[in-house]
Symmetry: C2
Subunit: 204 residues, 2 copies
Amino acid sequence: MNKTKDQTTEIKILEAAKNIFQTKGMDGARMQEIADEAKINKAMLHYYYRSKQLLFEAVFKQAFSLLAPQLNAILNDDSSIEEKIKNFTENYTSFMMKHPYLPNFIIHELNKNEEFIVKLKQNTGFPNLEKFKIKVEDEINKGILIPINADQLFVNIIALNIFPFLGKPLIKAFTDKDEQSYKEFVESRKTEVSKFIINSIKRS
Amino acid sequence: MNKTKDQTTEIKILEAAKNIFQTKGMDGARMQEIADEAKINKAMLHYYYRSKQLLFEAVFKQAFSLLAPQLNAILNDDSSIEEKIKNFTENYTSFMMKHPYLPNFIIHELNKNEEFIVKLKQNTGFPNLEKFKIKVEDEINKGILIPINADQLFVNIIALNIFPFLGKPLIKAFTDKDEQSYKEFVESRKTEVSKFIINSIKRS
DNA sequence: ACATTTGTTAACCATTTGGTTAAACTAATA
DNA sequence: TATTAGTTTAACCAAATGGTTAACAAATGT
């Protein structure tokens, strides 16, 4: 057999499964649909991944593993909180514009199965806030930032960055934007969000 | 027949459907499961609501109709932006603590079926930002607020308030909180979030 | 009292769905 | 070139699922 072809079929399946699972969710996805998307026989899905559940987990883990490094990189580098916020906002928004279904997929499946995150947490490389917390407290002590709880600040940062992708249909409707102007709206958040946060927490 | 009993059966179904649909989503929900939850025969679901789709829509519309007035009340009253933000943050968080599955349910289903919001928009009472925008611009001109785009501000407000309910499993894992301390965390956001926003936009 | 409408149930049905099987095919190896 | 191991396919299967039906029960109106 040909190892290259092995991989391409296996990867074609994962790719197709990613598309279907991320748009329709675990429950809404059909094995046949994934097979069609990958242009292979349905039996191949089971040949390579055994069951829908295992195929789903392969997709989910891959999706999650795309997000964690983004967070870690910024939480653990040595830059100032202001720089962290600027970098994160810029990078994360750019990344999400390329993977717009990802936040919804992860959040929905995690909410449907809360125990699932316990498994992920055991993984090395699961984001850790310790260094970020220390840095926040340090800058508060130095008078750079006004007093704020680091957990609250962290949640505020990710909320402001992720929500536009989660709530896109809602926001589009509320603010009366079409696809194009919504894209511009999100694009402008790359800088607006960090200004907004820094305005709030930086001692002036 | 007995009109009171009619209503209770019909309402028992809607109540059960709400529980199941909101936790499992349209695709994950089973008609039999809803019937069991309501402790009635499965055929009754079809007798009163015709199909799964229509039952789902009844649940969805009811859920959505709980959110819209909350938004409208605050967008359209005559208070200052600062008061709007304080009221909204306090009220919305309290409300969501009582209906924690609501945001996820609405956001997930809306993302799976983007056209669906068009129907909702035709409804009278669909939230409208005009008055809010005018008030924001007014306060900017008066020098109360620093310049900020009203749409961006609006998205920031709802992002900061809704995200803790959408991303609960994620945030719990990242910040290492158990159920109780997460509850306290969210509780404290009732005031923290408005302080955070006002800090950012109020001219000092 | 009786016919009619409304509500409820159990059994049933067609279709869909995840998953299996066995045979056919491919390509490297001995 | 025969063997072997891995790959792919079509046909199949049992269980689950949304939905229907027909008989029965309980109100309601006349």
